[in-house]
């Protein structure tokens, strides 16, 4: 447990301004790999990074739930509708060998890239993130929208939770008829939107009063960020080199 926490800290201490571009580049280069001889490299890279990051396996598996459903549909489509030799015949259904290989490659690639994405997001500390994202040339307006959205999801989510509790306390039992269900869902959704709209007006006034958008306020917010450590720089260089190597390998194999 202590070793896991220590390993996680290594990734957490990796400077965000270097970690996000490096891991994002790695994800993009992994997504580029199509050759089946290079595909086995992807789970190896993902596994090494996963072990090094110290993220709990349960977290990783829980995050696979949503993409696995999507992957299942894609795999069934590929196995059934690909052209080529038949792998297996079950009555009128023919499973194709090339489709099966393609489906396997897709699954391995998707799960590997997702693993790196999970490592990137779960080892990034939130304090000071907005300033670092702005330093990474992400438009300020998008970073500000992101930061405030994150904050208000909690606020409005709590409102929704209170509304649901109040509904239950008043003895509401969801009926089976569609009209009855819509009769409850629509006012709930619309009320949440109205609350959000009113909140946005209050936030707008507060931002204007604090001088949001003026050059003086921007200068004050854009304080100098600390320099990345040598280890951060080293990890960045290794990851970028790995990404470039993957791209070169894919291009070489493809042209060969």
């Amino acid at each position: 447990m202590l070793a896991q926490t220590r390993r996680m800290r290594v990734f957490e201490n990796w400077d965000t301004t270097l970690k996000i571009p490096a891991l994002f580049l790695l994800m993009m280069s992994m997504a580029l790999i199509r050759d089946q001889h290079l595909i086995p490299l992807l789970p190896c890279i993902a596994a090494i990074l996963f072990i090094a990051s110290g993220i709990p396996l349960s977290l990783l598996l829980s995050r696979f739930r949503a993409p696995v459903v999507f992957l299942l549909f894609v795999c069934v489509f590929l196995i059934l509708f690909s052209e080529g030799e038949a792998l297996l015949r079950i009555g009128p259904v023919v499973l194709k060998s090339q489709g099966a290989i393609l489906a396997l490659n897709t699954c391995v690639r998707v799960l590997s890239v997702i693993t790196v994405g999970i490592i990137m997001i779960h080892t990034t500390p939130l304090p000071g993130l907005s300033a670092k994202l702005k330093k990474m040339l992400i438009p300020h307006i998008l970073v500000d929208i992101g930061v405030m959205t994150g904050r208000y999801i909690m606020v409005i989510g709590e409102d929704y939770s209170k509304m649901r509790t109040a509904r239950k306390l008043r003895g509401y039992v969801p009926g089976k008829s569609l009209s009855r269900r819509f009769g409850v869902i629509v006012p709930t959704a619309a009320t949440l939107l109205i609350k959000g709209f009113q909140q946005s007006e209050r936030v707008f006034n507060a931002m204007r009063m604090r001088g949001y958008g003026s050059s003086a306020a921007e200068e004050e917010r854009g304080s100098a960020l600390e320099r990345p450590s040598v280890s951060s720089l080293l990890m960045f260089l290794v990851t970028v080199a790995l990404s470039v190597l993957l791209i070169i390998l894919e291009i070489t194999v493809e042209t060969a």
Binding site: M27, F81, G117, A189
Partner: protein, 210 residues
């Protein structure tokens, strides 16, 4: 409906990012030209994106199952040009918090969902020539239906067209059509939901409707 990481080739992901960056810039510029300052854009987009995020937790009954609303149409109606950056940020949070969608595919997902929001807004404006509840019900339904339909066709087309070889063109077209047909009940449910929410807002807070 969100494409996960690793599903699309790197070059398509990069093109998706380039496309959504251009569209975000255009949308913010358009919003600013209609007398909206930066504080207004940030506050409205962020708080409404959060509200939409929470509303998407509510499930619409669609026997025998239930689905969560996509809300691209409703976001288009309520936010207009700002709907695109708001949807972009919302998709980022869905990828980060629940693993729906992905980080490399964020640009492509934003183009399909955000594009759906903008299209829905255009349809809403086209159909809402008259005032009154009937007009809002019709335009709301069209916006909700068009939003889901566009998103499904866009996601389906991108997926099918980027799957390498072994599948002939006829099968690819059939697959996109089959995917659209399978999502028809969802589009209808979203249309009804959008129309009813728009009517509710017209009665209670009409200044929210663009």
């Amino acid at each position: 409906m969100h494409i996960p990481d690793g599903m699309l080739p790197g070059e398509i992901c990069a093109a998706g990012y380039a496309g959504s960056a251009v569209l975000t810039w255009i949308c913010i510029k358009k919003a600013r030209s209609s007398n909206e300052d930066t504080a207004g854009i940030v506050s409205r987009a962020s708080v409404m994106a959060a509200a939409f995020f929470v509303v998407s937790w509510i499930h619409i009954p669609l026997p025998p199952a239930s689905v969560h609303p996509i809300l691209a149409g409703l976001m288009g109606i309520l936010l207009g040009w700002i709907s695109f950056p708001a949807i972009l940020v919302g998709l980022f949070f869905q990828a980060a918090m629940f693993g729906h969608g992905g980080f490399t595919t964020l640009g492509v997902n934003a183009l399909s969902m955000g594009g759906a929001g903008l299209l829905a807004w255009a349809m809403y404006r086209l159909f809402r020539r008259k005032s009154g509840e009937r007009a809002i019900l019709v335009s709301g339904f069209v916006a909700g239906f068009a939003g889901v339909s566009f998103a499904v066709i866009a996601v389906g087309s991108v997926l099918i067209l980027t799957i390498p070889a072994y599948i002939n063109a006829g099968t690819e077209v059939s697959a996109v059509l089959a995917m659209a047909a399978a999502h028809l009940p969802l589009a209808l449910a979203e249309g009804v939901f959008t129309a009813l929410v728009a009517r509710f807002l017209l009665r209670v807070k009409p200044d929210m409707l663009m």
